[in-house]
Symmetry: C2
Subunit: 233 residues, 2 copies
DNA sequence: ATTTTAATCAAGCGTTCGTTTAAAACAAAC
DNA sequence: GTTTGTTTTAAACGAACGCTTGATTAAAAT
């Protein structure tokens, strides 16, 4: 009760940063804005995190950590293939639903010109590649076919992330008080459901269906006019 | 020959901005850096574009304009469905291939806190929604089923964009002189093909396959335990 | 020959950036 | 009640930010 009622300053800074980075992007948010949102002094950020980029590091680490717990928790090779696909879709959807802003920041931030972030992302992507190979093999996919791998590499994550980004943007569009002509027209034209449990149950089911049958079709796909240029290391 | 040899200043500013925005993100790039890269004085940017945000507007407009030329150029309803899917995938891949940086900037920039950009994007997205309805109908998709629409809404664009973002990032990873342990390990572990015409022909074919069969599976999908909660406006 | 227009430049406006410092406030421990 | 270590504060550092100004140049139009 001695001030434990409110979250400690570090957590408030962290939460404010996630929220602001998600909405504006990492570079567009200043430390002063984070401090103000978190109701702390500017130098608290330095005190708890060091540099601004260290907040981003913490965000990326938390996100990928949770992300990999998610995709690893889909049973082993004894589980039927379609069931595993259903599980991975369902888990991913739940992950993004529970960590929308966290995932938006971690997955959207362009790392190319921030070497430390680039390295961090590469470290995690390296893990992911290894983790997914096993699933691809079970699906019957030729993991030496670089084209097929390039097509499906990040399909699931990307599709789901895009959905939550659209949902996130939509929420902000609706909250904007003064809407332009185009915006009002767009709102009228789009049919947006309630994003509740029922929606995401159906969403996961349909996405799993699409993913499973899509994958099966390219596993079976062997073009006639192609010689084996699939192991071009 | 009177200085027409080099592109005019406005074009140099525009090209520099696209390249820098793609690599670092809009907010992380300053006008001074754009001017320096374009080899012009800072005030030329104001002279030709006005505000910094006006460069972004021009980029977004050019991108979406080309984008819609692309997705509209896939024949009409008399064209066989699978052929139209093949066409739209092929065209989209060619579009992203020819305009990678332009598309990265236009599609990745977070618009929520820049009202003018938000409006611009909404204007274009509104057009897209209308344009794709016709194709969905031909595919046999129930366009009143908000869940199915939510699943496939931006699937194609998102998948292809992700591929080119990965390719873009990979190029920069390889160009970095001092690579860390993780990076070297990642490079060794990944098999990256030559991204030439042959690759993208096969890539388009496989993606079209995945998309077509995935779509067909969800068109046919009618869950038993669901009553009609699909018109929840 | 004179005026108009378009293009370019150096310099600087006020503001905000990420970061740091040194000291105050506070807690618990002795 | 003093000490000790943690948390918080105000103030300020130099650098970079977006943007503007006023002068200069060269070509075009009159």
């Amino acid at each position: 009760m001695t001030g434990q009622e409110k979250k400690d300053a570090k957590q408030r800074i962290y939460d404010a940063a996630i929220s602001l980075f998600a909405r504006k992007g990492y570079a567009a948010v200043g430390v002063r804005e984070i401090a103000k949102t978190a109701n702390v002094n500017i130098s608290m950020i330095c005190y708890y995190f060091g540099k601004k980029v260290d907040i981003l590091k913490a965000i990326i680490n938390e996100c990928y950590d949770k992300y990999y717990q998610t995709i690893l928790n889909i049973g082993d090779e004894s589980t039927p293939t379609q069931e595993r696909v259903r599980l991975i879709v369902r888990n991913l959807v739940e992950f993004f639903r529970a960590n929308t802003e966290l995932a938006m920041v971690a997955l959207n931030t362009l790392p190319i010109d921030i070497p430390e972030i680039m390295e961090l992302k590469i470290k995690w992507m390296s893990r992911k590649s290894k983790a997914t190979i096993e699933l691809y093999t079970q699906l019957g996919l030729d993991t030496n076919d670089v084209v097929k791998i390039n097509v499906i590499r990040a399909v699931l994550t990307t599709i789901i992330l895009e959905h939550f980004q659209f949902r996130y943007a939509w929420k902000h569009i609706m909250q904007t008080p003064n809407k332009s002509k185009y915006t009002r027209e767009f709102i009228k034209q789009e049919t947006i459901p309630e994003y509740n449990d029922a929606f995401y149950e159906k969403y996961s089911e349909i996405l799993a269906e699409l993913y499973f049958h899509g994958l099966n079709s390219i596993v079976a796909h062997n073009p006639a006019s192609e010689e084996g240029n699939n192991t071009t290391k």
